[in-house]
């Protein structure tokens, strides 16, 4: 572990007890555990740590595992926050012998943290301050892999990202603003150590099993899957299922969505395969010119959610967000809420100026930089923020998938689709289909999936791998890599420990049943019907009943809190 104290300008190496690694794996789990002494600190308190943690599979040939989790407390949601991101940065961090990088304090001057093998140093970065991501990354060329903030992070935009040099982002919850408040402009890492694999033969066999399942999964390597079209492969599907959030979730179908479907992006932008380092799936796409192309969430939110059908404008908005270091989902959803509140959605040609203003917090951007919940409140229309715990909802309308509805509410980091990822079974039929218009069994399913994904985020592996593989195969990879036996059940137990710890932190920060709900709109208004599909409002009583079931399954009180205030003392 490397602890960097920016206030004192000190870099200290230390050991993470073996016991903690076993109990929390790495990544999200380890980061969350390391937050134990800090979780009530204000997100902009200089003492709040910003943690980058890799997992035990990082640096091995495990598919999709060159990833890390960034963990801290979110200024947007005020919950505990973690985000998984792929790329060389994670790999090189691990190769520097660092499983967890913990940054605390506020530097007196903008700085750059450089890790080169055993060496860690803080360098002045005044010259970089104010620069966009592209320029920042370019000026650090040759020093290793970069994680940096852009103007949005510097200026404290509540949904500012930390961007990786290769285009991956640590998104959604505004950890870029946490980094900015520390005056840490960028981190470069250049390790070259190797990760040991305890049992090569066993590892290779497990790897083969994973790859076989990837090939057997239509969602991954199918002709119409994400390896071919990226996540925009979902555009057509969500339109057909009538659950594509449109005009601030007032509708669930957007007639012009075909303009930015997977095939259209391929045709119009010459989409090429791209993706995270070391990942065989390569679900990300870039244009002929090498410009990263938007993902499903982004095309829907700059598209349908704002009533915009112009693909070029959407691609441009995506590029601009990346350059400014800002989350695309929250940026677009905030614009959409703002648009509905003032009676008109932004025009395609207005996007660039609005986004730049947001990142620099000038003019209307000052307000927009706060995210949709605060925007809607200040405009006197709180009901127009389509968020849960202040995190803007992504592009799966909860009226079209009831597991998703519940999972948005129970997510420890606010309205996020990836905590339990029920879209996998409710829509994509993996590993098996479930009835998307039924709450039956969903409380248990969501609980299990949250545990599974907490483990996945601690390995760290990509969620998309689980459209094919399961914890059975990844447990085998982990066992082979570490020499310690893990299986699906032991991994889920670790996931449960992580999940409850996060929940405990949130409860300590006053989150409870009142926060575990959806915006009113979903209980009152219907979505857009069509193709024989009705999208009625969600039945509130049934939703509440399922939420209470979920609490019972989790061992929580009806308020969603812990009966035992000393819960953490019993945790490793």
């Amino acid at each position: 572990m490397l602890h960097v104290d920016l206030a004192r300008g000190r870099c200290l190496r230390g050991e993470i007890p073996e016991e903690l690694l076993r109990a929390y794996l790495g990544g999200r789990g380890l980061g969350v555990r390391l937050m134990r002494d800090y979780f009530t600190l204000d997100p902009f308190d200089p003492d709040l740590p910003l943690i980058f943690a890799v997992g035990p599979l990082c640096g091995t040939a495990s598919p999709t595992s060159a990833r890390l989790a960034a963990v801290s407390r979110s200024p947007l949601t005020e919950t505990i926050y973690d985000c998984s991101a792929g790329g060389r940065f994670a790999w090189r961090l691990k190769a520097s012998g660092v499983d967890a990088l913990l940054v605390t304090g506020r530097s007196p001057e903008p700085v750059l943290l450089a890790l080169d093998g055993e060496r860690a140093e803080l360098l002045p970065a005044r010259a970089l301050w104010g620069k966009g991501i592209r320029e920042t990354v370019a000026s650090l060329e040759g020093r290793g892999s970069v994680a940096a903030i852009g103007p949005a992070g510097e200026n404290g935009v509540l949904f500012a990202n930390i961007m990786m040099g290769e285009g991956n982002s640590i998104g959604r919850g505004g950890l870029g603003a946490v980094m900015g408040a520390k005056l840490l402009k960028a981190i470069v890492v250049n390790g070259s150590g190797e990760t040991r694999v305890a049992d090569r033969e066993r590892f290779e066999a497990a790897r083969g099993d994973v790859m076989r399942l990837f090939r057997a999964s239509p969602v991954i390597f199918g002709e119409l899957g994400i390896a071919e079209y990226g996540t925009p492969a979902l555009v057509d599907l969500m339109a057909q299922r009538r659950m594509a959030p449109t005009e601030n979730f007032s509708a669930t179908f957007f007639a012009a969505s075909g303009n930015y479907s997977g095939p259209s992006i391929r045709r119009e932008c010459g989409a090429r395969k791209d993706g995270c380092y070391g990942c065989p799936i390569q679900c990300k796409k870039s244009s002929r010119e090498g410009e990263p192309l938007p993902e499903y969430e982004t095309v829907n939110h700059f598209g349908a959610l704002n009533g915009i059908s112009d693909l070029k404008a959407i691609v441009k908005a995506n590029t601009l967000c990346n350059e400014l270091g800002m989350d695309t989902i929250s940026a677009a959803a905030t614009l959409s809420a703002f648009g509905e509140a003032r009676g008109r959605f932004p025009l395609a040609e207005e996007l660039p100026a609005l986004l730049a203003d947001t990142a620099y917090r000038r003019a209307e951007g000052e307000l927009l930089s706060l995210g949709s919940r605060r925007v809607a409140e200040r405009l006197g229309r709180p009901e127009l923020s389509m968020s849960v715990k202040s995190l803007e909802l992504p592009a799966y309308d909860p009226r079209g998938a009831y597991g998703m509805a519940l999972a948005y509410a129970t997510s420890n980091r606010g309205g996020c689709h990836l905590r339990a990822y029920p879209i996998s079974h409710e829509i994509l039929r993996k590993p098996v289909p479930t009835d998307r218009f039924s709450f039956s069994g969903k409380a248990r399913i969501i609980k299990i999936a949250e545990d599974v994904n907490a483990a996945v985020d601690s390995l760290v592996a990509c969620k998309f791998a689980f459209f094919g593989a399961t914890l059975e195969e990844y447990g085998e990879l982990l066992s082979a890599a570490t020499g310690v036996d893990y299986g699906p059940e032991s991994l889920k137990a670790i996931g449960e420990r992580i999940y409850l710890t996060e929940r405990f932190y949130n409860c300590a920060n006053c989150f409870g049943v009142a926060d575990d709900t959806l915006p009113e709109r979903f209980f009152r208004e219907a979505g857009t019907a069509g193709e024989g599909i009705e999208v009625p409002p969600i039945e509130r009583a049934r939703f509440r009943e399922e939420l209470q079931k979920y609490y019972r399954i989790r061992g929580l009180t009806p308020e969603g809190t812990f009966a035992d205030p000393s819960f953490l003392d019993g945790m490793p």
Binding site: A216, G222, T470, P488
Partner: protein
């Protein structure tokens, strides 16, 4: 959730993979519920409550093959490793517990094994399988274990003969009573499938049901498609062929839409078969004797180890070509299309059978029945021949 338990118990009885009086399910919502044979239900509940999963089935298979595989396994072994595709891809191996390892309440020991695998064999009890997030999943995993142990036992028998007292008698019972002739008798097909969407969907739904009813496929495996001009209608991934209503994806030939992302993992194979043969309908199932026979290779001069994916040859079973290749993007889509046109059917090593119909599903279905009947006859011919020697 109770209705789910009843539904899948009925399915296990109907597909004759479990003894109707010896089936139990457990499922957990906020409460644990169980249903079925009381002893097994207690065991199912006790085991599930130790797992972070939603459902579990414990049932006695209608055939003694799983038990026999355990009894035949060398002392010291703790799992069997069938070579068929369902095992290779999804189960990996099937652990077992022998009678003498069982305490009065074996649920802890069973849960320990299910902590790492989808299904286990418990000697004297039967097959116990878990469903991580649905009851259906427990049923599917049970079904897969039943399928894989069936295939492996038949294979082993052909290799090593009867080894245990009473084994021959048990097998005779299977052969003379359990096994039923397979035919197309009593099934109605549209002779000429039109281009009409509703007609195609209806036909796919009924043919899917026939495929399950006649035992040509287990649980959610197998897939089925029909072509209509530039559109291809294909069953969705993880869809049970006997419940295809609402689970058929139309996929345009020019990939102008990606709604077919939920289509069967064999979409590519189906497409290529249509392209290369001009067929109208395609059926893919996992009939058991065909799977068994496809793995019986007599070319002694071969150095390839991973036959199921690497075998480059086209072998034959009664005139039907046998090729290798993994599921999905893994190779079967390359090897099946070029060989299926000549006879209208092809067998995939350790996996199953593809058949086609030039005008409708009647031809495809009859072809699959023929292939399976040939393989069944051939299997018994060899077994009997071996016995005589």
């Amino acid at each position: 959730m109770r209705d789910q338990l009843e539904k899948y118990a009925a399915k296990l009885a109907a597909d004759r993979s479990a003894l109707p009086e010896a089936i139990a399910f457990a499922a957990r919502d906020d409460l644990l519920i169980t249903a079925g044979a009381p002893d097994l239900a207690r065991l199912a509940g006790g085991t599930l409550s130790r797992l972070n999963s939603l459902a579990l089935v414990a049932a006695s298979p209608s055939l003694p093959f799983a038990e026999l595989l355990v009894a035949r396994a060398p002392a010291g072994d703790c799992c069997i490793v069938p070579q068929d595709t369902e095992t290779r891809t999804f189960l990996h191996d099937i652990p077992f517990l022998r009678k003498d390892e069982l305490s009065a309440d074996p649920s802890a020991a069973i849960a320990r094994l299910l902590a790492n695998r989808k299904g286990v064999i418990v000697e004297g009890v039967g097959i116990v399988a878990v469903g991580a997030i649905t009851v259906e999943q427990a049923y599917i995993n049970y079904s897969s274990v039943f399928h894989s142990t069936f295939v492996k036992y038949l294979q082993d028998l052909l290799a090593d003969g009867f080894l245990l007292p009473g084994e021959r008698e048990a097998f005779e019972e299977f052969r003379s009573r359990w096994l039923k002739p397979i035919s197309v008798e009593g099934l109605a097909f549209r002779a000429m499938l039109s281009e009409d969407k509703d007609e195609i969907l209806a036909e796919i739904e009924s043919v899917g049901r026939y495929t399950v009813e006649r035992g040509l496929v287990d649980s959610f495996f197998g897939n089925i498609s029909a072509r209509s001009g530039d559109l291809l209608y294909i069953s969705q991934t993880a869809a049970s062929l006997d419940e295809l209503k609402g689970c058929i994806d139309p996929v345009p030939g020019d990939n102008s839409s990606t709604t077919g992302i939920t289509a069967s993992s064999e979409l590519l194979a189906h497409r290529k078969i249509f392209e290369q043969t001009g067929a109208k309908a395609i059926l893919h199932g996992h009939p058991k004797f065909s799977v068994v026979m496809s793995m019986l290779c007599e070319s002694g001069d071969c150095t390839i180890k991973d036959c199921w994916k690497d075998c480059p040859r086209v072998r034959h079973l009664g005139g039907t070509p046998v090729v290798a290749g993994e599921i999905g993007a893994g190779g079967l889509a390359k090897r099946v299309p070029p060989v299926i046109g000549a006879t209208g059917s092809a067998i995939v090593y350790g996996h199953g059978v593809f058949t086609l119909g030039r005008q409708g599903f009647g031809e495809a279905f009859a072809a699959m029945v023929d292939v399976e009947n040939f393989c069944r006859d051939e299997y018994f011919r060899r077994l009997d021949g071996m016995e005589q020697r």
